[in-house]
């Protein structure tokens, strides 16, 4: 952990002196407020992810499920985005669009190593990744610098160490707000959801993914990966903090957002990929969203 922080500092101080190279990447890094002042941040959780931050981009490391899940998440966001912004376009034409988020401002709250942020940026979005952990932000920036398209500004991507609350204070709004696998790690999800809602511009979209507080959620997302297969570090998830989709809906509706979709996401162990699963599986209503699920809401 100490070693890692030192590393980030060395790396980033090294780059900071060269701001002429790509100022946008680095400008907002030093003016950090103490994240403690924000209510929804859980410091132990931030610490937990910081410790593993150097493994973010190792597809076989502790974040393996996030790697394999990322393409399905992007697929989901793409599809929901179509229903919102490209209603008249045929699916076939929309699927040929390499940059559906072109011209849209996106924030990825709790971006971690930047897995989703990079993908959304490649799809044309002006993406800001924020994370409360400076180590994560260091890793995300370092990884971004490995790709000339981000360095040369072909794609627009920036990272800052910050929180949803802080961005709200700064009165920033975005066309698309994403926050994947974050809500189950925050201290107060009501506050957190309110901040995400404030960040969403009118007509904008909020997409989250998390784990359902069900027996299946506990089994598939905690017991098996953390205790049986040991592919995810133990203690990554706390079952008590899992949130049900209807709980999210209730809060969002109070702050002017309408939930437009809830979709399950299921792991396929043989191919190590994930499959989007409709909410209802045959006659079983809500069966598809018993463990991991994605939820989308539109700001009215």
């Amino acid at each position: 952990m100490i070693k890692n922080t030192t590393f980030s500092k060395i790396f980033l101080s090294n780059t900071k002196n060269k701001t002429c190279y790509q100022p946008a990447l680095l400008r907002s890094f030093s003016d950090q407020k103490d994240p403690k002042s924000y209510s929804s941040i859980n410091h132990e959780e931030v610490l937990k992810f910081s410790e593993n931050s150097q493994s973010w981009w190792d597809p076989k490391g502790p974040f393996m499920p996030l790697h394999s899940m990322n393409p399905s998440r992007v697929e989901y966001i793409r599809n929901i985005w179509k229903n919102l912004k490209y209603k008249t376009l045929s699916d076939q034409d929309y699927n040929k669009n390499p940059a559906p988020f072109s011209g849209s401002k996106i924030v990825d709250v709790g971006c971690g190593g930047g897995l989703l942020s990079e993908s959304l940026s490649r799809l044309g979005g002006q993406v800001l990744g924020v994370d409360a952990s400076p180590e994560n932000i260091g890793i995300a920036r370092a990884h971004m610098l490995l790709d000339p398209s981000f360095v040369d500004g072909v794609f627009s991507l920036d990272y800052i160490e910050s929180t949803a609350e802080k961005l709200v204070e700064e009165k920033k709004t975005f066309d698309l707000v994403t926050s994947v696998e974050v809500i189950e790690h925050v201290e107060n999800y009501h506050e957190f959801l309110k901040s995400l809602a404030d960040l969403t511009s009118p007509g904008g979209l909020l997409v989250m993914s998390t784990i359902n507080r069900t027996i299946l959620g506990r089994l598939l997302c905690v017991a098996i990966p953390e205790y049986l297969l040991n592919v995810v570090p133990r203690g990554t998830h706390d079952y008590e903090k899992f949130v049900k989709p209807e709980e999210i809906s209730r809060v969002l509706e109070q702050v002017g957002l309408k939930v437009v979709d809830v979709t399950g996401i299921w792991y396929k162990p043989i191919s190590n990929t994930w499959k989007l699963q409709h909410r209802n599986v045959g006659p079983f209503s809500d069966a598809g969203i018993q463990s991991n699920y994605l939820i989308s809401a539109v700001k009215l």
């Binding site: 590393f7 060395i10 790396f11 090294n14 780059t15 060269k18 190279y21 150097q54 493994s55 973010w56 981009w57 190792d58 597809p59 490391g61 790697h67 990322n70 393409p71 992007v74 697929e75 793409r78 699927n95 040929k96 669009n97 390499p98 940059a99 990079e118 993908s119 959304l120 940026s121 490649r122 799809l123 370092a142 990884h143 610098l145 490995l146 790709d147 000339p148 398209s149 040369d152 072909v154």
Partner: protein, 494 residues
Amino acid sequence: MISRFQISLFRARNTFSRQLASYSSTTNIKNYDITVVGGGIAGSSLVCALGSSALFRNTKIALVDSGSLTKISNWDPPTDSFSNRTVQITSANQSFLSDIGVWDNVYKERVQPYSKVVLTDMLGGEILHFNTNPGAEFGKFPAYLVENVNLHQGCLKTISEINKKEKRIDIVEGIKVDSIKQGSQEADNFSDYPIINLSDGTAIKTRLLIGSDGMNSIVKKFANIDTYGHDYNQFGSVANLCFDRVNETAYQRFLPTGPIVILPLPNGFANLVWSMDTDVYNKTKNLSDENFVKLVNAALRLTSFSDFEYLLSLILPDGSLKNNIDILEESEWRIRNSTESSGFNESKGYSNPELSPPKIIQITKGSRQGFPLKLRNSDKYYSDRIALVGDAAHTMHPLAGQGLNAGLTDVITLVEILGNAVRLGIDIGSTENVLAEYNNKRYLSNTAFQGGVDKLWHIFRSKNPIITTARGFGMKTLNQFPIIKEFMVKNAMF
């Protein structure tokens, strides 16, 4: 516990400042997303597929070829002859070529669609015939015979058309690849992007490098991907032939010395691909065209291998014949007097005259060529940010004429995976999401196909009576099961 990423980060830290310092000075390095090395049919059709798809409209593409593509572009089709190098295209691959606009740029009058294949076995004495699609309208045949140069030019025309609309593909031709460096080999390269140093002093840095540069692939060499395989100790003898009548059927005959294949071209022309043991090849290569034609006609009809061996024994090292014997007369006499029962010997007539191959009357001057037959496969079809397609990845016995089809299927698969990656914002050079998936989809299938063709080669070479009987039985049985035959045609086993 040190991950690759940590190593690259470490490298990044060390080389970052240097990278910054040298960034402006290395202006002769061009950045591309996809660089295709080798502009043959596989490489140029790959570029067409990328260039014709809207998904790749933001993808920077370069095609590098050491030869002169202009020569192919300027090919003026002769009116009285065909090239001796042809390729059988399966209907699936023909659809692909249509979709990417290449098929429209191919001279159709020089393409022979066909649905009839007649297979015979010199020793097993059986006929197997395929006719899956009688009366199919143009565009829906199970196979098409196209001259390589016709198809290649079609690809290059399509590339120019794409570039005319909107410059999408940079072509670097007549320039060789001097070296390819990656990662730590290149101090200024702080990621794992391959840097291709070219013979004109410029360099290309690319997110993904695709090697379609043939059997002796430079890309494969620099990627340190091992090759394994074996030589068949055989030669393929190709030639362009002329029949005594118009023909739209393909003929394949298994001789113990290797299969002889005749593929139809328009206007009574056809191409020969005759695989033969090196000693047989050495005997036949000096034959005059006239005598070679007689030998081919004999090989298609003789029902006894000893008769065929006798004919070969008449050939002197300089290509002349012992006692000036006429091969034609000799073979016809032997066919007439053949005591061995057979469904298709000339004395009885082919049991069904429709299945009898027409007489070859002439060889196009200068169209006879020979090349050694090899089977090659690579350990894998990728390395970090590098993929291999076509002959760079694998070559197989031309018995089934499938070398290029396998290459086109590589291209189709890779383009589909790349398209999906672009659609989902995935780095198209990523190993786990792109390259490993491509390898998984193609490696096993190519290896199995190569293995199948290789096995077939061994089975049909055998003079062992048990195997020849089984072979005959197998062919007879297959004739009873049109569905299996149809499957074989669809997958272009023959």
